[in-house]
Symmetry: C2
Subunit: 460 residues, 2 copies
Amino acid sequence: MPSRPSIPKGTRDFSTDEMLKRDLIFDTIKQVFKLYGYQPIETPAMENLTTLLGKYGEEGDKLLFRILNSGDFLAGIDNEDLLKREPSKLSSQLSEKGLRYDLTVPFARYVVQHRDEIVFPFKRYQIQPVWRADRPQKGRYREFFQCDVDVIGSDSLLNEYELIEIIDDIFERLKIATVIRINNRKILSGIACFIGEPDRITDITVAIDKLEKIGIQAVNEELRDKGISEEGVKKLQPFIQLKGDTWNKLSKLEEMLVQSETGKRGINEMRELFTYIKNSQLNCRVDLDLTLARGLNYYTGAIIEVRSKDVNIGSICGGGRYDNLTGVFGLEGVSGVGVSFGADRIYDVMNQLALFDNITSASSEVLVLNFGDAETKYALKILGILRKLGIKAELYPDPVKLKKQMSYADAKKIPYIIIAGEEEIKTEEVTIKNMSSGEQKKISLKDLNSYILSEIKVKG
Amino acid sequence: MPSRPSIPKGTRDFSTDEMLKRDLIFDTIKQVFKLYGYQPIETPAMENLTTLLGKYGEEGDKLLFRILNSGDFLAGIDNEDLLKREPSKLSSQLSEKGLRYDLTVPFARYVVQHRDEIVFPFKRYQIQPVWRADRPQKGRYREFFQCDVDVIGSDSLLNEYELIEIIDDIFERLKIATVIRINNRKILSGIACFIGEPDRITDITVAIDKLEKIGIQAVNEELRDKGISEEGVKKLQPFIQLKGDTWNKLSKLEEMLVQSETGKRGINEMRELFTYIKNSQLNCRVDLDLTLARGLNYYTGAIIEVRSKDVNIGSICGGGRYDNLTGVFGLEGVSGVGVSFGADRIYDVMNQLALFDNITSASSEVLVLNFGDAETKYALKILGILRKLGIKAELYPDPVKLKKQMSYADAKKIPYIIIAGEEEIKTEEVTIKNMSSGEQKKISLKDLNSYILSEIKVKG
């Protein structure tokens, strides 16, 4: 016998049990997105490489999965080029399509391509897999799902607030306690100006972002290593160590950044957003956190990140405002804001917190036992009644030993079995057995309707 | 301004409107699958090429999308091989993964790989995209969705019957009138024996399969061209022209194939299956059709195909029994039966029959107009009430001219708008406008609950 077949490393099969749990997450997310007026779109798995290349940095380009051109893929390449063996040059000749790396760039492409049909502000969500040729490791896969929700074509901070509400609503429904941290790129710009290093905003925030992980000494060291002046590092300390609640922080920031127009705009944005939050009844805590950076070059306003209170697994949702998503495809001046939910990490958090334990099985609610040809007609009649009531039901397909049929019901956690043998057929009855209590009851076929409705439907 | 970005030919974006219609199809299919006790699995988009190659014939191998290996993909290829420029040989060196071509082969691989965890009979469904490097044309895409439902590990014909019920149930819910045609590979084998050409079953059925399209004369000509003897063609005529209802056909077949053990087994299978069907209350017609072939080499028992009665678009669902799905991966003796629903064609049929016309929009049911900062707090309160009731609702994010906000509601077909300006706030009321009737009503905020429940929830 040959060795068992397998799948590419970094990819996964999802079993029926895993799908049940994953669907709970996806269905909850979709339901909330819709409740707030967002609608789905989908884009193809493959995009032209011209769409993808250069959007994720040099490292990202290397992580793209490329599709080998069909047919004679060497046709346009001469021998000289071939023998030079330059992977990066050859790959662009061998391949003109790649698998999507995220949902953001395809969305930007979508908006530009279809801008004449879209009603703005455009509130869309998108839940699809993405692919990255990353080195696989625990919790990092080469195929994984992103759940993005964005509104574009509106500058209003009500959109940022709505996303906070959506985050709160989803994690409340999933029973995950979270903390939302918010920062603002404009405030970070103001700080960079204030310490006299306006062009070093990336280096500064990359360093600050590590505060929690490596501590203040190491952060300061990194800043110096990156060439931030001693004066700059010193002036930065009050910001890094800013204490107190959000309103306190904002007041102090206002004093410190009084000379930065950009900084002040950022502070005003945060004041407005936190006013909405203060007046709301959110379940989770929302903090202003100046050390939050997240793919900074991309964001132009609010930056949002969500973590589980109970499981230390990093960000389970994040995003922010970007003022020029579509510029790279030739459409300027379209502002957007959005967040992305990390389904795989949310799954891991829920598993660790045993939040899937009470999940109802998606398998059948009733198994009708198979007694053989003579009883089949009666069994099919019962199935018809059950399914008309919306009860998930199946007949064991083969007339094998009842013990085997029962152990099938056990293995699939089917809560009820129906016994309809010669005796039951004679009296137009069925025997229903509750698999967890072991209780068994005989009822007439014409009472099956009301019995099912009261017994099974209520519990199911 | 640069030219608009685009997507690879043969692929599609799905807009919010299209997603709404597609989700109706997918949700209906999933709901029925579950009702009959089937559970979902998912497999990765990429499979190892060793899993895919050789499973779809030579032509299929060419249509696989291959993933270029990451890193230095030329490393293992010497100059001599490179300069030979043989695409088929080089592609297997440049690439070790491919995109799945269908759901059947990944499913077989899944069953063999996970056979120790699976409870048999295994009733699974799988709804995922597949990719084929086919020449794109009307109705044929390079990325399209398959919806497969199979039960494996049981020989019972009750499974075939259950699939017929599922087909009937799904198309009844989608309001598509259909005809199901059924054939049996064993009967076809019997016929091939009867006419003295037992090894030519493929040529015979490929020719017969065209009867509807090209007529009896052309079919006979093709049979002769393929080298079927004049005697054989003559003996075949009664089968091709077999008339009458299914029971008539089966009786006549029984007489004609009296000497073929395989043929008789096929006839008995069809007798059993059509007895279940006769005793049922299916909505669609089910015919025995000896001219139905469908990828014959694969099927070993029942062959099933479904067509729309009203739209001539070819098969919208099809499948059959296969006795050796997993043999190619080293697991022998596992019989299965399944069908696949063609979501794209079903979509086209429903579009042509205007079956999407009454679909409820997934967009918001209520738009709250934005009057500016002073009114925002009140507006957010209203949104909270609506969403708690499960009403999809949104606030227009910017305080722009009301005319613009109204035309947004129009374009998105939002049925109700809520006006909550200075006046309404003073009296703790809201004005609700029905966008289709133009009717407008002022109600107090504390009556909003019951009003919404009676007015919107009932209609929505």
